[in-house]
């Protein structure tokens, strides 16, 4: 079976004044379907850059990135937008919901950009919200929801387009431990239903939900180990 994601010798350099920052300095990584991966590393290690790279928000300075056979490193902005829309579900630390839109509309937005008719959008969005247990909060705005509920809206939004991977960047970082545990339960159950999940975190106990832990340091993968059998 071919891999889902394949990064080969990915480099990402920034010029800051005269200095060149090597945020990623030759990363090789292969991720298969239905993996549950944690990416760990101290701040400044390049893990955010790696996440942006995997999430197709950023493109490499050099190297080869293949996502389900599509060559991401060659893509232009519109193609990147399209692949983010179709294949990646983002869950952010700060939720990143549209503050003025209802939960339902927030979940609907990716479907708008993938050109799905209104009635199907409502259908899919409400199904997705029901999956994360928010069927009774569909018409609430983010400010009327608790942190845990907001993050569940974000997960519903990430799921709504049936993405190939769910990319969660410190998903529990802004939550109390109880809400955090709930969110991790949802991610665990998504994994057990066949989804591929990539978790970026610096918390050991969060990372331990994953089956494979990747440590980043100075823009390079320091170690990559399977910690649990499927």
């Amino acid at each position: 079976m071919s891999s889902l994601i394949s990064l080969q010798n990915i480099k990402r350099h920034y010029e800051v004044g005269d200095e060149i920052v090597r945020a990623l300095d030759g990363v090789d990584l292969t991720i298969n379907h239905n993996e549950y991966i944690s990416i760990m590393g101290p701040s400044g290690s390049g893990k955010s850059t790696l996440m942006n790279m995997i999430g197709c928000l950023d493109t490499p300075s050099s190297g080869k990135y293949e996502f389900e056979g599509e060559l991401v490193h060659d893509m232009d902005d519109n193609q990147l937008a399209s692949i983010r829309n179709r294949k990646i579900g983002f869950v952010f630390q700060t939720f990143n919901l549209l503050p003025k839109a209802t939960a339902l509309h927030n979940v609907e937005v990716p479907l708008i950009y993938s050109n799905i008719p209104k009635n199907q959008r409502i259908d899919k969005a409400s199904k997705s919200l029901t999956e994360v247990g928010l069927h009774d909060r569909m018409y609430h705005r983010p400010n009327e929801l608790s942190g845990g509920q907001r993050q569940r809206v974000a997960i519903a939004r990430a799921l709504v387009n049936d993405p190939s991977i769910i990319l969660a960047d410190e998903p529990t970082g802004n939550l109390d431990s109880k809400s955090g545990a709930e969110i991790m339960n949802i991610l665990d159950s998504l994994y057990s239903r066949g989804n591929t999940i990539i978790l970026v975190t610096h918390e050991e106990y969060i990372a331990n939900h994953a089956h494979r832990i990747i440590n980043i340091f100075d823009g390079k993968i320091k170690d990559d180990k399977i910690v649990k059998k499927k």
Binding site: R86, F90, N96, P110, Y113, P117
Partner: protein
């Protein structure tokens, strides 16, 4: 990739966001709209007013029949005092000139004369009309050139003119005041102390240009010249051509004849004016086109300022929503989607302002119609141009902010607080 339904979805979403954005920034949006509204208002208002005036001038001018023109010393419409000297030095048109003209003219089916002044304190027994009444000297054709008819009694005849009789026709306003309960025919009224026998009354014409057209007394021209002449008295000669085809020929004959009568040397310009409906309308439109141009230039400036306002507000709006743009881009919005969103907002803002301006402008223009008591006109074409211009402004001044929004980097935008 950007199929029709995608565009439609995008525009619907853009529209939704626009409404949200305007709702959240009511004051800011209203101020922006105001600029556009004022610009559009000034065009539409002036255009409506001018249309209204034009239509009223045209209907007002139809006092002359279509094939009629008038010869007089002064031009019918003068704008300012420009060129007054030229007209003042002309000889007056006097009665002998008119008689000779009438005798020698072959083409016209009718030639008539009129001159007017005003009279106060017209009396019948114990009743007096204090306000001034237009006193017209004329002959048998004059009421025809005024486009009215005898309602009762008889018209002025050539006999009345030759015999310089003290007879008069009354307009309905005068009848209303002097003879509220009596039949005026055969009664005697006093104009400046002179007795005049009422021989007829004319049909009611109503108002035009905010004034009554029935407030007059007509007497034979000869009588008028005998009693009411002064050094400024100059006659207007109305000439009616037999048909539209012979109108030009009739006018040529009249000009030639009058030049001969007034002894204008060959090569010099006419020392009289020929006024026709067409010329009056033309002259009026020359006057209105000046106003139009002025209104248009004011509007262009106003709209330009409004456009800059829109650009400013859109730039603020983009900065306000950097985070939102980042979120939308992360979950799949393309540059085109973001561009569409902000352009829609700019166009909506200016269109909305434009519609408000059109409504106010039409309302304002129609107030002029009410004041001048003429039927209102709605300049649909200008309303349409106004809205098209608003779209152009929305696009023109919205494109840069929208372009900036669409080019924001998603990673940095997401990090923006």
């Amino acid at each position: 990739m950007f199929g029709l339904s995608r565009t439609k979805n995008g525009i619907m979403e853009s529209f939704r966001m626009t409404i949200d954005a305007i709702r959240q920034n009511k004051l800011r949006s209203i101020l922006t709209l105001l600029g556009i509204s004022i610009g559009v208002f000034s065009v539409i208002g002036v255009m409506t007013a001018i249309r209204t005036l034009e239509s009223s001038v045209e209907s007002g001018l139809n006092v002359f029949g279509t094939n009629t023109f008038v010869i007089q010393k002064w031009p019918g419409i003068r704008v300012g005092n420009h060129g007054d000297e030229k007209y003042r030095n002309r000889k007056n048109i006097d009665y002998p000139q008119y008689e000779e003209f009438k005798r020698r003219a072959r083409m016209p089916i009718m030639v008539s004369v009129s001159e007017g002044t005003s009279a106060r304190n017209v009396k019948y027994r114990d009743k007096t009309v204090k306000r001034s009444i237009e006193l017209i000297g004329g002959d048998e054709g004059t009421i025809r050139t005024y486009n009215t008819y005898i309602a009762d009694g008889r018209n002025v005849t050539t006999d009345d003119v030759h015999s310089v009789r003290n007879v008069c026709l009354l307009g309905m306003d005068v009848v209303d005041r002097l003879f509220p309960f009596e039949d005026p025919i055969g009664k005697t009224i006093q104009i400046r102390g002179l007795d005049y026998n009422v021989i007829g009354i004319t049909e009611r014409k109503g108002e035009a240009f905010g004034g009554s057209q029935d407030n007059y007394i007509a007497i034979p021209i000869t009588n008028f010249l005998q009693h009411f002449k002064n050094r400024w008295t100059t006659l207007s000669i109305s000439v009616e051509a037999p048909s539209a085809e012979e109108y030009d020929k009739t006018m040529d004959e009249a000009i030639g004849l009058l030049r001969a009568i007034r002894k204008v040397p060959p090569g010099k310009e006419n020392d009289f004016e020929i006024e026709s409906n067409a010329e009056m309308i033309e002259r009026f439109s020359g006057f209105t086109s000046g106003i139009k141009l002025f209104a248009l230039s004011i509007s262009v400036i106003a709209l330009l300022v409004a456009g800059i306002g829109i650009m400013n507000i859109m730039l603020v709006s983009v900065t306000d929503r950097i985070k939102e743009i980042g979120i939308r881009k992360a979950i799949g919005a393309t540059r085109t989607d973001i561009l569409t969103q902000f352009l829609t907002e700019a166009i909506f803002l200016s269109e909305f302002g434009g519609i408000v301006g059109v409504i106010l402008g039409i309302a304002g223009g129609n107030i002029v119609a009410v004041i001048f008591k003429v039927p209102a006109v709605i300049p649909f074409d200008w309303a349409l141009y106004g809205l098209i211009v608003c779209s152009i402004i929305g696009i023109g001044f919205g494109i840069y902010p929208a372009w900036r929004a669409s080019n924001l980097d998603p990673i940095e935008s997401l990090r923006y607080e």
